[in-house]
C-alpha cells in the first residue's frame, strides 16, 4: 500500500525524534493526568494517550500530552496528529474532535480509517479518566 506523504512524514518524525513529538508517559496515578488506552494487541494496534490538565477559570485546559502507540504507520501517525490538535485545548473543545478531522489531515485511505477512530477513542477515554479525578 502506498502511504500519503503526510503519514510518512508524521511517522518518520515521531520515530526519529520521539521526545520532541510527545512520545513518553507519566504516572497515571498523578492527579492532573488523564490516561486512555484503547485497542488490543491481537488486533494489531494499541494506543496509550495521556493528557496533563490544569484548571483555568471554569474549565480545564490540556497543557501537555504524551502518547505511545503500537500499530501500523497510520496508527502511529494518527496518534501523533491528534496530539498536535490537543495541546492548549479545553476539555470541551477536545471532546468534539472527530476522527474524520484526523483522517482528513493525514489523507488516510478508507482501509485505515479505523486508526483515526482509535485515536478519537483514546482522547475520549483519557478525558473520562481525568474527569473521574476532579
Amino acid at each position: 500500500m502506498a502511504y500519503s506523504k503526510k503519514v510518512i512524514d508524521k511517522f518518520e518524525n515521531t520515530l526519529n525524534e520521539p521526545h520532541k513529538n510527545s512520545v513518553g508517559r507519566w504516572d497515571p496515578k498523578e492527579e492532573d493526568i488523564g490516561t486512555g488506552m484503547v485497542g488490543a494487541p491481537a488486533c494489531g494496534d494499541v494506543m496509550r494517550l495521556q493528557i496533563k490538565c490544569k484548571e483555568k477559570g471554569n474549565s480545564h485546559v490540556i497543557q501537555d500530552v504524551k502518547f505511545k502507540t503500537y500499530g501500523c504507520g497510520s496508527a502511529i501517525a494518527s496518534s501523533s496528529e491528534l496530539v498536535d490538535m490537543l495541546k492548549g485545548k479545553t476539555l470541551e473543545e477536545a471532546k468534539v474532535i472527530k476522527n474524520s478531522e484526523i483522517a482528513d489531515a493525514l489523507d488516510l485511505p478508507p482501509i485505515k480509517i479505523h486508526c483515526s477512530v482509535l485515536a478519537e477513542d483514546s482522547i475520549k477515554q483519557a478525558i473520562e479518566d481525568y474527569e473521574s479525578k476532579i
Partner: protein
C-alpha cells in the same frame, strides 16, 4: 551497495540476465516468433523446437520425462488444473480431498470451490514448526479419499515437508498426490523418479524466470488423468489449451537450466548469507523465528519482533523490500493464516517479517539490513506501550483489551 535492497525473493525474483537474452530472441520478426502449433511452415517448426527444448530443461531439473510437463500460466493455474482436474475426473471413485491449512490460496480456494461442488475437504493443522507429517496424512485418509494436495516448501516460512514419505503412503493406497512446488525449484533437489508424486506445480518467476509461465508435472507411470479446465485448440495433449507463449517458455527453460547447473553452489552461498543474517539478529530481546530452522529452504527467515507491529516496521525499513504477516498489509485486515495455523498468538503474527535472500543478495546487503532492523525495532519499541508493559512486568494476557 544499491538501495533499496530487495529481500523478498519468495514473492518473486528478477529475471536473470541470461534468461532475458534468450527471451529476446523469441519475440520479433528477426527472432523466433512463430506459433509453435503452426505445422505448415518453418516458423512454427522452429518455435515448436524451442518449446520442446525448454520442456526438456524443465524436465531435467526435476528428473521426469518431457512428456510429463504441461505448460500453464503459472503455479496458480497448475494448482487449479491439478486439484479441480483430478477431483472432477475421479469423482466417481470418491469425494474426499486432504490438504492443509498452510497451503497457498491457489490450493485452498480451489478446494473451497470443490466443496461447493459437493466434495469434502480435510484441512490439516501443521505442527508448531509448520510441517505436515505423513502420520497426520495417514490418519485422515478414508476410503473416499481421492487426492492429497500439500506444498513442498511453504511460501511464508520456508519449511520443507517430507513429500517422499507422504508419497509412499498415498501411492500404496492408490490416492493421487499433488505437490505445490512453486517455491522449490533451484532451492532443493527434486527427483521425480525417486519420489512418488503424481502431480507437481512449478512457477518460473520464483526461480529467476519470467512471470506468467509455469508448468504442471503429470505422471505417466502410473498414469494420472485430468479434466481440462481451459478448453480450446487441444494444446498440451488436451490438458491445457491456448497458444504457447514461446518467449516465456524459453525463459522458464533457461531459468530452470541455470538452476540445474548452479543450484549446489548457490544454495550454499544463500544459506551462508541467511545464517549470517540470523546470527546478526538472534540476540535481540523478544524475537522469535517462525518455522522449523533445520527443515527449511536456504533463503528464508520469518521473524516475529514482539511488541512491534509488522507494517510499521516495514515502513521504518524503507530501503528494504520485505513482506509481513501483519493484518495491515493484507486487504482482509486478518493476520497471516499460515502463522496462526502454527499456533502463533495474533500479536506475534502481526509482528512478523519475512526476509527472503536470493541470487543477487550480497553480504553488504545483509550487514546493512541487520543494522537497520535492530535500530528500527529499538525505535519502534521506544514508542510502543506494549514494550513499556513488558518491561514493567505486566502480564498482557491478563488484561481485558477492548477489541476495536
Amino acid at each position: 551497495m544499491k538501495l533499496p535492497i530487495y529481500l523478498d525473493y519468495a514473492s518473486t525474483t528478477p529475471v536473470d540476465p541470461r534468461v532475458l537474452e534468450v527471451m529476446k530472441d523469441h519475440l520479433s520478426l528477426e527472432g523466433n516468433f512463430g506459433n509453435p502449433a503452426s505445422r505448415s511452415h518453418s516458423f512454427g517448426w522452429k518455435a515448436e523446437e524451442a518449446v520442446e527444448d525448454a520442456r526438456s530443461k524443465v524436465a531435467n531439473l526435476v528428473n521426469c520425462d518431457t512428456r510429463e510437463i504441461i505448460w500453464t500460466s503459472g503455479a496458480t493455474e497448475a494448482d487449479n488444473l491439478a486439484i479441480k482436474g483430478v477431483a472432477r475426473f475421479y469423482k466417481s471413485k470418491g469425494n474426499h480431498i486432504i490438504t492443509s491449512k498452510v497451503e497457498h490460496k491457489a490450493v485452498l480456494d480451489s478446494c473451497r470451490q470443490l466443496e461447493r461442488e459437493g466434495f469434502e475437504v480435510t484441512y490439516l493443522d501443521p505442527d508448531k514448526n509448520g510441517l505436515i507429517s505423513s502420520d497426520l496424512v495417514e490418519n485422515s485418509i478414508t476410503d473416499k479419499t481421492i487426492l492429497v494436495s500439500l506444498m513442498h516448501i511453504n511460501n511464508e516460512i520456508g519449511v520443507i515437508n517430507d513429500i517422499k514419505s507422504i508419497g509412499e503412503l498415498t501411492r500404496e493406497r492408490g490416492i493421487i498426490f499433488h505437490v505445490d512446488a512453486a517455491q522449490s525449484t533451484g532451492k532443493v533437489k527434486i527427483d521425480l523418479k525417486d519420489i512418488k508424486v503424481d502431480l507437481m506445480s512449478f512457477s518460473a518467476h520464483k526461480t529467476y524466470g519470467p512471470k506468467g509461465i509455469g508448468a504442471l508435472y503429470v505422471s505417466r507411470k502410473p498414469r494420472v488423468r485430468l479434466e481440462a479446465q481451459i478448453h480450446g485448440g487441444g494444446h498440451e495433449r488436451g490438458m491445457r489449451s491456448g497458444t504457447l507463449p514461446t518467449h516465456q517458455i524459453v525463459g522458464m527453460g533457461e531459468a530452470f537450466y541455470i538452476a540445474d547447473q548452479e543450484m549446489e553452489l548457490e544454495v550454499e552461498r544463500i544459506r551462508n548469507l541467511r545464517d549470517k543474517f540470523w546470527d546478526g539478529l538472534k540476540d535481540m530481546e523478544e524475537i522469535y523465528l517462525n518455522g522449523d530452522f533445520e527443515k527449511r529452504a536456504a533463503g528464508f527467515l520469518n521473524v516475529s519482533f514482539n511488541y512491534v507491529e509488522g507494517e510499521s516496521l516495514i515502513m521504518a525499513l524503507k530501503d528494504i523490500a520485505v513482506s509481513s504477516g501483519s493484518a495491515c498489509t493484507s486487504a482482509s485486515l486478518e493476520p497471516s493464516y499460515v502463522l496462526r495455523a502454527l499456533g502463533l498468538k495474533d500479536e506475534l503474527a502481526h509482528s512478523s517479517i519475512r526476509f527472503a535472500v536470493g541470487r543477487f543478495t550480497t553480504e553488504e546487503d545483509i550487514n546493512y539490513t541487520v543494522d537497520i532492523v535492530k535500530d528500527s525495532v529499538e525505535k519502534l519499541r521506544e514508542i510502543s506501550p506494549l514494550w513499556d508493559m513488558y518491561k514493567d512486568g505486566v502480564d498482557m494476557d491478563s488484561i481485558e483489551w477492548a477489541a476495536n
